[in-house]
């Protein structure tokens, strides 16, 4: 039975996509529609990836404040991407085909995330606060290391890859988009089959194990999936720190349930709606370019502080 609130979100989603495609359409209609269509597809893929990754991560960490972005997953992806450029050299990197690069970056990202965060999860299983702090420091470390390596790369080689490395809402790469959509589709199907299991895992490691769930194995799998979702969104538009937080807070507030069969679609839809409406408003109403991430950062962070001060997040 589709939930009423989910139907409402789906309706809103359809309306915002329609608005984005059709508002102010004039001139070379088909050309513009194609451009907008690609952008819209990109926003949908990114929104779904961020929404799902955040909810999954919060289920794993047993905590509503943590998001992959706050824990430095985005920064890790950029670092891994930079390392790949560093070790291959800029010319070799730029010469590789797009989908292959995307696949390679994703694989490297998943391995690194499992190594680092798997160890962190084992280490600080009983100490959420320690985990948060270490994750945040991870983020800062990854960012500094990325900056460090970028300076080590030959400036002329760096110029070649700069465009492919730093994406934005403005220029979504078409081949990457296709590769990302395929990966997103496969991951979503996998997650869909885990839905009831996720509800049990949300109880925490102890209770889930008592109920016969091989928690550690599933945690490992989920961590891989989360890393891949983050790779998808970061490869397409770069890091957006607080969107996940905003989205999961809204999804939980709206759905008021623990059931992932409702939470995950809601989070994905909300993220897409925010991105599409936001980007639409930016492009058409305010005639601004590529600062949507900044505004989401501002609003998402503010919402987080308000929730915290009101004691809604513990």
């Amino acid at each position: 039975m589709p939930d009423r609130r989910l139907l409402f979100l789906a309706g809103l989603f359809a309306v915002s996509c329609g608005l984005y495609l059709l508002w102010g359409l004039q001139g070379r209609i088909w050309f513009i529609l194609e451009l907008r269509g690609i952008k819209l597809a990109g926003l949908c893929v990114v929104g779904a990836a961020i929404g799902i990754a955040t909810v999954l991560f919060q289920t794993l960490s047993g905590n509503r404040i943590l998001t992959p972005a706050i824990m430095g997953f985005d920064a890790l992806f950029l670092l891994m991407q930079t390392s790949v450029v560093f070790f291959l050299g800029g010319f070799n990197y730029a010469g590789l085909p797009g989908p292959f690069l995307f696949a390679m970056n994703t694989v490297v990202m998943v391995c690194a995330a499992v190594l680092l965060f798997g160890a962190l999860f084992r280490r600080s299983r009983n100490d959420i606060q320690l985990m948060i702090l270490v994750g945040v420091i991870f983020g800062l470390l990854f960012r500094s290391l990325t900056g460090f390596m970028q300076r080590l790369i030959d400036p002329s080689e760096f110029a070649i890859v700069q465009g492919t490395m730093f994406a934005s809402f403005g220029g979504i790469n078409r081949t990457e988009l296709i590769a990302a959509s395929i990966l997103l589709g496969m991951l979503s199907i996998w997650v869909w089959r885990q839905l009831p299991l996720l509800d049990v895992m949300a109880l925490g490691r102890g209770p889930a194990r008592h109920l016969g769930v091989d928690y550690d194995r599933h945690q490992f799998q989920l961590l891989c999936a989360i890393a891949a979702f983050v790779a998808i969104s970061t490869a397409l538009v770069g890091p957006i720190t607080f969107l996940g937080l905003l989205v999961s807070a809204l999804a939980h507030a709206l759905m008021r349930t623990h059931r992932h069969v409702h939470l995950l679609p809601a989070a994905a839809l909300i993220a897409i709606i925010i991105l599409v409406l936001g980007q639409g408003a930016f492009e058409r109403l305010m005639r601004l370019q590529s600062t949507l991430a900044v505004v989401i950062e501002f609003v998402g962070g503010l919402l987080f502080l308000v929730l915290l001060a009101k004691g809604k997040i513990r």
Partner: protein, 316 residues
């Protein structure tokens, strides 16, 4: 460890060696047969080394003060929005009154970072006291919000490159005549040393301070103003240098405890030394290009901090 037995002498020796290295590294050679050697020394090398030392020392000292005032080991101005607030102030002056003298800009930046700290204090008061690690997290998010606001404003006013300069602390642009404001930061650090006892007591908390007869409000105000002014000064002259105020006080506190009267000189020395080391590494690693000292220290500092956090079972 030698630091534990003779903290002052060890610190001083390390600083002298590093300063020597720093003075002799650079594109222009400093040998007797170079006729411009004296000029290079006076205009570029000495000012640069002095700027690094002053910055590192004052940032580390300010970090300690902030930690005592918030009563949390894991905060410092650049992770609690103070630096971002200073940037917002600078942006405002640069847009509204670009012609103002540097001193006036400084005052505005200091006022803005003061507001930033006050905002952070207001937030921390509303947090549940049983979760000490929530405070640094809130600080980071608060800083992120202010940073996003600054980015937005800078983007609209087409001043992103200024923001980039303020965000990455580096010393390559330091020449005689461009860094002297930092002496003011150094002076404030010295004043902090003379009021060290009061900060130590204030770190015990409001009720403990009042029962010991300490004017808690005044000490708090003095501390906040010091933190704000030093943060603003450093942002204006060299840019943001994260982690130093966090890492150094934590290391020193593990080595010598929390009595500021004893430990503050070592904190200042170690801060200066680590920034100097980062600056030297940044200059040597990709010679003749430079890697900003802030980036180098971001890597070193994060590693040290992770070691501090994970190396001990229950720390906070």
């Amino acid at each position: 460890m030698a630091v534990r037995k003779h903290p002052y002498i060890t610190t001083l020796c390390v600083l002298l060696i590093l300063s020597g290295v720093s003075i002799f590294i650079g594109v222009g050679s400093l040998s007797w047969d170079n006729p411009n050697a004296m000029q290079v020394l006076m205009i570029s090398r000495l000012p640069r080394t002095a700027a690094v030392l002053l910055t590192g020392a004052s940032i580390a000292v300010v970090g300690v003060i902030m930690q005592l005032l918030v009563r949390n080991r894991f905060v410092e101005p650049s992770t609690t929005g103070t630096t971002e607030a200073a940037m917002l102030g600078l942006l405002a002056v640069a847009i509204l009154a670009p012609g103002w003298p540097i001193i006036a800009k400084m005052v505005v930046a200091s006022l803005a970072s003061l507001l930033g700290i006050l905002g952070f204090f207001f937030l921390t008061r509303r947090l549940p006291p049983q979760q000490p690690l929530l405070i640094p997290l809130v600080g980071l998010i608060y800083g992120g919000i202010l940073g996003a606001a600054a980015t937005f404003v800078a983007f609209q006013a087409d001043m992103i490159q200024f923001l980039g300069i303020w965000m990455t602390g580096e010393f390559s642009g330091i020449l005689a005549g461009r860094y002297e404001l930092l002496w003011l930061a150094g002076g404030l650090a010295v004043i902090a040393y003379f009021t060290a006892d009061q900060f130590t007591v204030a770190g015990l908390g409001r009720s403990a301070s009042l029962s010991l007869g300490l004017p808690y409000g005044q000490v708090l105000a003095l501390g906040i103003v010091t933190v704000a002014v030093v943060s603003a000064l450093v942002v204006v002259t060299v840019g943001m240098l994260p982690f130093i105020g966090l890492v150094v006080p934590n290391i020193v506190s593990r080595l010598m405890g929390d009595n500021l009267r004893e430990s503050l000189p070592v904190v200042a020395g170690m801060g200066a030394g680590l920034v100097l080391l980062s600056d030297i590494i940044g200059r040597v690693a990709r010679y003749p290009y430079e890697i900003p000292a802030g980036t180098v220290f971001g890597v070193i500092g994060a590693c040290i901090f992770l070691w501090l956090l994970l190396g001990r079972k229950s720390y906070a």
